[in-house]
Amino acid sequence: MSKTWIIARHEFTITIRRLSYILLTLSFPLLSVMGIVIYGGVYLLGGEISPDEKRNIGYVDNTGMFVDYTEMGGMVLIAYNTSGEAKSELLIGNISEFYVIPQDYMENGRVSRYTTKREIELPASTIAVIEDFLIANLLSDKVTDEYIVRVASPLNTVNFRLDSETGEVLPRESLFRVLGMPYIFAIMFMMSLLVTSGFLIQGVSEEKENRLMEILLSSVSARQLLTGKVIGLGAAGLLQIMFWFISALVLAAVASVYIAPLADLTIPAGLVVFGIIYFVLGYLLFGILLAAVGAMGATVRESSQLTTIISLPAVLPIILIGLFMSNPDHIVFTILTLFPVTSPVMVVMRLSVGTIPIWELGLSVFIMGASVLAVMWLAGRAFRTFILMYGKRPGFREVWRCLRQG
């Protein structure tokens, strides 16, 4: 077995036994299970989840105009003569809330709502039912029932997206698929990428701090050491991502029984293939860069501070997720797809909701590959130079001279 593989195996074994690695690997499935359990609990205990369940809402009509259409949208509207009567019913829990329609309603449309629940904003579905109830009663005897329904809901959009080249209708995408998947995948991907790279820098810094580097370098070359570490820790990162993907699929299949949007959770083949390619490239880019920076720091703490600066740009696509959701084809996202530091997370985000033009992907992979080679070359110089420098951190001039002269 070559020395590179001995180091890789050692790093892999050490990493997957680390408590922090095990906890992080298990955290996503555990958090998902918790989320599903909580969602299931809410589903079982009631709320606005079930469309079949009837809720009682009280109202006091001081105009005498609102008497019909008292069963709407899964809710039953119960009329009371006075506010006091409605209030008593609310307090004993017979109704969930009540509305008071004043005599001057026709002048200003003002309706008072009373509830015992603490709310940050008004419940949209209940308000929609009350609006429908008011509209229906206002229009009754004036137009037909069909007309009333149409006035209450004049726009029921059925959206179609056409392929920009062929003009064919593309399959519909659920809200979860459009909003949730890119976010979840990007976060998972970025976490694994940065955590694995973090292990790499931690390993390098620890070996430097514990004065092990010189002993290691008396047996292996700096390149063998760096390559072995990168391979071993990269394998640990890939294992983590694969575990997350598989557990996501299993959990989605189990939970889709009562969380309908999860039925849409499919991981496109392109996402898997490019996920692996970009993980490897992204990990190499960040890993080698961070290892070189780790070699410069005098302690683990100092090295960690330095790497934060390098890791920050990787988060940029996630910061821009708001813009991405409204306009995923914006030029900014093409630029971020091509820019090596943001490219891995950006590509995963884009592939989770659709496709990326061939030229963009090809160019992006090429730029990433070239960047990895360049970083490998430059970081190798810095690694060799600074790994045996104890007690002080090199200044910018020193780093620049090292990169220039080797």
Binding site: R211, E214, I215, L216, S221, V273, L361, V365, L388
Partner: protein
């Protein structure tokens, strides 16, 4: 699907290009190394090297039992190496050879360039110029497997178990796992630390940690052992343990380089030395020969009565409990002893005065 095929093709092409570039680079480097070997081998002065095999040891000692095996005619040849950092030359034109079965002292004050020299010897850093050959060839990965190195800045994986550390670091010297495990157990037994084999390194005392460091250095049965300040921070008991182990390894035919700034360590253990100051060699050769060369030409004499007017003595300095007699050019100390006995003087102490290495160093540096 088209995208997939395109990308897979692109990645394959890029990988092939990178692989080809690496292979070419490697081939070129090997070619260059071969050329260097052929061209420069004649420029090295190897006349002073021992051609004998391993020195047979009379006493069967513990460490040599554990790390036994065929010891070859180990030789290190360093020719005119220099190294600068940031425009400052820290090693200047150093040359020395190391024979099998000897302890060679690399001596000098702190900052003299000893550790840099050893790092160049271990191929951790490259010399700006000059040549280093170990076991008769330029340093390669295979050569490193036959060298044990204990650097001045040393440590171990704190969270790793003692045996695991020994085995992993021996694996990096291409020792099979099973052999490395066996050897680790045997070595731990020799230093009476077998009971600690399952402990984490962080649970050991500092002294124990340093013993483990030393075991790491020799666990792979090296033919050349390079020790940089090996006694730093050791208590007298552990110091003695390592000193005995080093001398035992010497007797078994290993070549040992001992780098230190403590001169009496060198006097106790080394056969030959290279003394350096500010990166330059100031003294090189056999230790006894050096001490003879730098002798004061005087005698230390302690006797039961006063004596004077001895032929061949040009000056007598009284130190209280003993006298120092300075001899004239070409005077044999034996003649002085004969004269003293002839006068009926009872001699308690009679020795040829030799300066300590420390005195010689100070004398040379002052000059």
């Amino acid at each position: 699907m088209d995208i997939l095929i395109f990308i897979i093709l692109a990645v394959t092409i890029i990988s092939a290009m990178v692989l080809r570039a690496f292979t070419r680079q490697r081939q070129n480097r090997r070619k260059q190394e071969d050329e260097v070997e052929v061209n420069d081998i004649s420029s090295l002065d190897t006349s002073s090297l021992s051609t004998g095999g391993a020195i047979a040891h009379e006493h069967s000692m513990e460490f040599s039992d554990v790390i036994s095996g065929g010891v070859e005619n180990v030789t290190v040849e360093v020719a005119n190496i220099s190294k600068s950092f940031g425009g400052r030359e820290v090693v200047h034109d150093l040359s020395f050879v190391l024979k099998a079965g000897e302890v060679f002292g690399l001596v000098g004050p702190n900052g003299a360039g000893k550790s840099t020299t050893l790092r160049m010897l271990m191929d951790i850093i490259r010399p700006d110029c000059g040549e280093i050959r170990v076991f008769g060839e330029s340093l390669r990965e295979e050569t490193k497997n036959r060298i044990g190195y204990l650097p001045e800045e040393r440590g171990l994986y704190k969270k790793m178990r003692v045996t695991d550390s020994l085995v992993y670091l021996a694996r990096l010297k291409n020792v099979d796992t099973s052999i490395a495990k066996e050897r680790a157990e045997e070595l731990l037994k020799q230093v009476d630390m077998l009971a600690h084999k399952e402990k984490k390194v962080s649970e050991l005392s500092r002294g124990m940690g340093q013993i483990i460091q030393f075991l790491v250095t020799i666990a792979h049965n090296p033919s050349l052992i390079v020790l940089d300040e090996p006694f730093g921070g050791l208590d007298p008991v552990n110091r003695m343990l390592i000193k005995d182990a080093v001398l035992d390894l010497k007797r078994s035919g290993r070549a040992i380089i001992l780098s230190t700034h403590i001169m009496n360590e060198v006097e106790e253990m080394c056969d030959r030395i290279l003394m350096i100051d500010k990166g330059c060699a100031v003294l090189y050769g056999d230790l006894s020969e050096i001490k003879w060369r730098y002798r004061n030409n005087s005698l230390i004499v302690s006797a039961d009565q006063d004596f004077s007017q001895i032929e061949g003595v040009i000056k007598k300095v009284d130190h209280g409990r003993y006298s120092e007699l300075f001899l004239g050019e070409g005077v044999d100390p034996q003649q002085v002893l004969v004269q003293l006995i002839g006068r009926g003087v009872r001699v308690d102490r009679f020795e040829i005065s030799t300066p300590s290495l420390n005195d010689i160093f100070i004398r040379l540096v002052k000059r």
